[in-house]
């Protein structure tokens, strides 16, 4: 719940040029030079920052090494890894909201995760290089939702910037179709775009292994195992933390992998901690340990309460 609030605040923050609404315009100031470390389309009329993937493709097209974009993303990455994906990305938040719809749920094969690297290298790199066009932007579902559809509205309202637009191109049809298909998928599986497609996640994920913020496990502390009264070492038997992972990771094994978005969902079970790479170097920071201990305490209390409720009353000896 706390994460949802942070995600919503981040959505409002990255899209806070509210002046655009009454004026049917968009922001063109100096802040558009700042890349935000989330997938937030800079064509969104409310956005004040630039999308790093759009900027990356631009530098590929003008044949310059994207020092600035990689510098920003790399610096964010070395400190917190994919944390922005889990806590700040508006499109990630949207996917989690859509997943709450009552649709049949299913999982996807793990090998699809590698597709995001293909998207990064082929679509954002090679295709942009060869065609001189940012093709990922043209078909990006986040761009359709945040940029394409609002611009359609702006045109309907007679915005000066939207004059002369012919929306019924095949590209617009294609991108709306992709968005519609993806929204359907979002309802049926967790964060399909982040897991299989997002080139920004692919880039940030590379820093997960050596970022300052790290995730670690201590399986003896699993609160669920304690509550179930099972062997503490046998954590894989319940898979509660894995089921709670928005990226579909097998949490005990893949907790620090390139796909972990540091959402901290798994920390509520007590066996997973966040810690700082430098400094203490132990099992976690004091705060991480305190949170884990609180989760274990709650599970123990719940287990004790259940035992007390189920215990039959002792017969009266008198």
């Amino acid at each position: 719940m706390k994460r949802r609030i942070v995600q919503f605040i981040a959505l409002l923050f990255t899209n806070s040029y509210f002046v655009a609404i009454p004026r049917a315009t968009f922001y063109q100031g100096a802040l558009k030079g700042v890349c935000v470390p989330v997938l937030n389309c800079y064509a969104c009329p409310l956005a004040w920052g630039s999308c790093p993937i759009g900027a990356l493709q631009h530098f590929v097209i003008i044949r310059q090494f994207p020092f600035y974009v990689l510098g920003i993303l790399g610096l964010v990455g070395v400190f917190v890894g994919r944390f922005p994906c889990g806590w700040l990305c508006p499109f990630g938040w949207f996917q989690e909201i859509v997943y709450k719809l009552k649709l049949p749920k299913f999982s996807a094969p793990n090998w699809l995760r590698h597709m995001k690297y293909v998207v990064l290298v082929v679509v954002c790199g090679l295709v942009a290089w060869w065609t001189y066009e940012p093709w990922f932007c043209k078909i990006c579902p986040a761009g359709t939702l945040e940029g394409g559809l609002p611009w359609l509205l702006w045109q309907a309202r007679g915005s000066e910037g939207a004059e002369g637009m012919s929306f019924l191109t095949w590209v617009f049809g294609l991108k709306v179709l992709i968005l519609a298909a993806l929204v359907l998928l979002m309802g049926m599986m967790r964060r399909p775009f982040c897991r299989f497609v997002c080139p920004l996640g692919a880039l940030l994920g590379l820093t997960n292994k050596f970022s300052l913020l790290q995730m670690d496990t201590h399986l003896d502390d699993c609160a669920i195992a304690y509550a179930l009264g099972s062997d503490f070492k046998n954590c894989a038997s319940c898979m509660h933390c894995s089921k709670d992972c928005p990226m579909g990771l097998k949490v005990p094994e893949e907790i620090g992998s390139v796909d972990c978005i540091r959402c901290m969902n798994c920390t509520s079970y007590g066996s997973v901690y966040w810690k700082m790479n430098l400094g203490q170097g132990g099992r976690g920071t004091d705060r991480g340990r305190a949170e884990a201990a609180a989760a274990r305490g709650a599970a123990r209390e719940a287990a004790t309460a259940t035992e007390t409720a189920e215990k039959p009353e002792a017969p009266d000896s008198s």
Binding site: I62, L152, A162, F172, L278
Partner: protein, 61 residues
């Protein structure tokens, strides 16, 4: 686990000190990237690209 993840895992996982070393190297390299990007006016290039929204680039023009 993907091969790239395995490779990075091999490089940084075995030793916390090595992980910390990679963090420091990453910090220095990406900070240098950012400085080079700013010196070579990439900020203004990003600004002009972001502020002049090409409607065809987002597939609506």
């Amino acid at each position: 686990m993907c091969p790239l993840s395995k490779a990075i895992d091999f490089l940084v996982k075995p030793d916390p000190a090595r992980t910390a070393t990679f963090f420091v190297i990453g910090l220095v390299v990406f900070e240098a990237f950012l400085i080079v990007g700013l010196v070579t006016e990439h900020f203004w290039e990003t600004l002009s690209n972001g502020a002049m929204i090409c409607l065809s680039c987002i597939g609506v023009g």
